[in-house]
């Protein structure tokens, strides 16, 4: 049972960050906000240290690639307030040319490998990260494989074309 409603989280955030975040949604009750890379570290720090909210647990950091959007990459943070038992999702959209965002390792040690994984698969630069190198892929790989321009199977293969399946 959530002790803190999504509206009160938004209200609390508005006291400090009025107009610095937008796109407030709550799919399946999970509050989702969007902000810019200039504000992300401030918002994360506020969420973590605020005595009322106490989002002290970093659940996950990952990224999504939307090649058709003007800002191609979305870095997604999931935070969890264990005290209030409420979650929040924060998205930051980044440019495709040089996707860079401040690191969250200054707030959570656990962000280290999550950001390395995100860098490994999407090429997001986490500025200030102590050890930003590949983690799961081979070291001499020169692409970022989770980007949508790298299809899973050989694109020249004709026998699995979508038209065979009526798609």
């Amino acid at each position: 049972m959530a002790k803190l409603s999504n509206d009160s989280v938004i209200g609390r955030l508005n006291t400090r960050f009025e107009n610095r975040f937008n796109q407030i949604e709550d799919p399946y009750g999970l509050l989702t906000i969007e902000t810019g890379k200039e504000d992300i570290l401030d918002i994360l720090e506020f969420l973590k240290t605020d005595g009322e909210l106490q989002f002290n647990y970093l659940t996950d950091i990952t990224a999504v690639h939307y090649p058709d959007l003007p800002k191609e990459f979305a870095v997604v943070y999931h935070l969890h307030s264990l005290v209030n038992n409420v979650r929040i999702r924060i998205k930051v959209f980044l440019d495709g040319a040089y996707p860079a965002i401040p690191t969250a390792t200054v707030l959570w040690n656990g962000a280290n490998w999550m950001e390395r994984e995100t860098y490994d698969f999407f090429g997001i630069q986490f500025v200030g990260h102590p050890d930003l190198r590949r983690i799961l892929n081979v070291d001499d790989m020169d692409v970022f494989p989770m980007r949508k321009e790298y299809p899973l199977e050989d694109p020249n293969r004709m026998d699995k074309g979508d038209y065979f399946f009526g798609r």
């Binding site: 399946y28 647990y57 659940t59 690639h65 999931h78 979650r87 999702r89 959570w108």
Partner: protein
């Protein structure tokens, strides 16, 4: 970082120990990738002074299989087999977590009986996973005696899985919307037999180790972690609860009707190897309690219900497929994965055997996920291993890894 630590250099991204000082006694030890004591593919490049570890770097990814990329091409029901291979010691929990994620996406409400059946499966696999972890911890500290009877019971759990779905390790158990078939009478009889017979074995195992002076000397105070550090490293599962934080997804955000069950969330005090061992033992008792309650609850539900009514995603019975045009169409569409899911975004998590197993799913309205990210507890729990090993004895680092219960398949995904 001290001067000694900086001798491990990163050359071409690989940790390499550089020693130009002939006077010092430090040397590099490659613990892994296939060391028998690590129970899996783990490499740690350690700099050691005799038996004492001075610093270390973890190298992971040896069995990376690109599950998240593969999932972007597959239909929803085909991803279940990928989740099998995450934490292969308790694959049913992963399967159920994935089914529940898709059911949440499709807004499917399951009948109560199916939810209780799922609870039984998940708790059985939690017990199987904890048997492995605690049994191996006993072996690593020097006794085979407790391990063997426990493994016999784990084998029995696998027989139950075999009875239910035909597979043992990578189970692919259940379907989107329920189970592929009802549990048969043999399966129920075996579950009851397990519930009746396992307490004696577990009690014997506890009696052998919990008050054993040698075992306590070997594990107590080893790799102690305080709650604040554990939280800052995003630990979850039994190892977080051993530090004293009572975070359990089953209690905090109940899924599959866990809110109806009466169970406790055991916590430890100082987060050392001994506390993790105790927490896992207590969790096995609690799992047994849950299974007993679930068996009693199933009795009260209408018999023979084993799936929800979702014709778009749940295969029709085979005899109908051969005789009924509608059923044949649905069968074909489901098997080819041609049915679109709604355009939504969600995060669903279950309490896996070693932590919060999360599925972050973005659907763009197509036949397969636009993006699927697994929040893998082993991956996140393991990153503290190398930093916390500094200053530890090599033999302590080995039992520390055993008690963290890192599963290579989940670590590398």
């Amino acid at each position: 970082m001290s001067d000694a630590i900086s001798k491990i250099k990163l050359t071409d991204n690989r940790p390499i120990f550089i020693d130009n000082d002939p006077q010092d006694e430090l040397f590099t030890l490659n613990l892994g990738p296939t060391h028998p004591a690590t129970h899996g593919v783990f490499q740690n490049v350690l700099q050691v002074d005799g038996e004492r570890i001075i610093s270390g770097v973890s190298t992971i990814g040896y069995i990376h299989r690109a599950f998240e990329k593969i999932a972007e091409r597959r239909a929803y029901y085909q991803i279940t087999t990928l989740t099998d291979r995450l934490n292969y010691c308790s694959s049913p929990i992963n399967n159920m977590g994935w089914h529940m994620t898709v059911e949440k996406l499709l807004d499917i409400e399951l009948p109560k009986r199916v939810q209780y059946m799922r609870v039984i499966i998940m708790e059985l696999s939690r017990i199987a996973d904890h048997i492995i972890c605690n049994g191996i911890l006993g072996v690593d500290t020097g006794t085979f005696a407790g391990f063997i009877p426990m493994m016999v019971k784990r084998e029995f759990i696998y027989e139950i899985f075999e009875e239910i779905c035909g597979a043992r390790l990578t189970t692919n158990i259940g379907r989107i919307g329920g189970f592929e078939r009802d549990f048969n009478e043999v399966a129920f009889a075996k579950i009851r037999e397990f519930v009746n017979e396992f307490p004696a074995v577990l009690k014997e195992f506890e009696a052998l180790l919990e008050r054993n002076r040698i075992f306590i000397d070997r594990t107590s105070g080893v790799a102690a972690v305080d709650a604040e550090t554990a939280l800052s490293y995003s630990w979850s599962g039994p190892i977080l609860r051993a530090t004293g934080v009572d975070y359990d997804v089953r209690a905090n955000e109940p899924y599959s009707s866990y809110e109806e069950f009466d169970f406790e969330v055991p916590v430890g005090t100082n987060g050392d190897v001994y506390d993790r061992f105790l927490v896992r033992n207590h969790e096995m008792w609690q799992s047994l309690r849950i299974i007993e309650q679930a068996l009693a609850k199933i009795e009260k539900e209408p018999k023979g219900v084993f799936h929800a009514d979702v014709p778009d995603f749940y295969l029709p019975p085979k005899e109908q497929v051969f005789n009924n045009m509608e059923a044949l169409i649905y069968h074909f569409k489901i098997v080819m994965g041609e049915i679109d899911a709604p355009k939504k975004e969600l995060y669903h998590c279950v309490e896996g055997a070693n932590g919060e197993l999360g599925f972050y799913l973005i659907s763009d309205g197509g036949r397969s996920p636009y993006r699927l990210h697994f929040r893998r507890p082993s991956f996140i729990n393991y990153q503290m291993y190398a930093p916390m090993s500094s200053g530890m004895l090599l033999s302590d680092a080995i039992i520390n890894m055993s008690s963290l219960n890192i599963i290579a398949g989940e670590l590398d995904a």
